[in-house]
Symmetry: C3
Subunit: 109 residues, 3 copies
């Protein structure tokens, strides 16, 4: 038995939890405070049998991997002279950190 | 030294913490968010000497074990014709998940 | 790779996080609820390479170690007869608990 501690972006939590639940993984979601660093992250605890660790990591990868997203450039502050033509910009979203810890004893009461 | 991570039902937290405190276990209570799954649970971190692990698990079992409770059937929505006779129904309450993790180093500053 | 779980006093969190961030440690801050015990504490998760564990513990010690602080005695409740002369008293502040856990696998997505 392993304990997976996954720190994922808030934006990715909802689809990730849906897939994990559909595949019957048991997840506990901890609150991560909006501190001045790492705000916007959620910490998940997932108990998992050894032989399912890789499948679990794949699911997290599919939903949370760091990736580039095309967004539209923000409009300039009003009052700027001239015509504003929005242009696409790339931003980086997602990303996750996973710790896999060995469990000595796992008990379900 | 072991670290016990216990996920217990909110309803069982208060009596459990009272007993753990009385028996001088040191507990840290993490906030578990009200996500769409596992809401209503609390995660506890408990550092414990190897030889007290079994006693600690027994205390959690005594306070949190999944069990049946007799409750009264809810009254039907008003407007239903006839006389309502409440009857007892069994519901399942409690339950806990415990992970026991080995600690390489334990430091108290 | 190790996972350090540090439970520190809220008062010490801000300077600690500033130093950890400046030294490029990656910290996740969990919310610790204001339960009837251990309220006022914050739990930090820090992934760290084996060879940096001691340096990390030293930083936590510098910022969080249990220490005595001189404060002024509180004024007596109003209505007490006589002149109140405040005197210095020592109180204990800070303190931290650190668990070092071995990580089987560490993944950054
Ligand atoms: Ni990020
Ligand atoms: Ni339950
Ligand atoms: Ni304290």
């Amino acid at each position: 038995m392993k304990l997976l501690i996954a720190i994922v972006h808030d934006d990715d939590v909802h689809p990730l939890l849906e897939e994990l639940t559909a595949k019957e993984f048991r997840v506990t979601k901890l609150a991560t405070t909006g501190g001045f660093l790492r705000s916007g992250n959620t910490t998940l605890l997932i108990g998992v049998e050894d032989e399912k660790v890789d499948a679990l990591i794949e699911i997290i990868r599919d939903n949370c991997e760091s990736r580039e997203q095309i967004t539209t450039s923000p409009a300039p502050v009003s009052g700027t002279a001239g015509v504003f033509v929005p242009y696409p910009i790339e931003i980086k979203v997602g990303g996750a950190t996973i710790f896999v810890v060995d469990i000595e004893k796992y008990i379900k009461l």
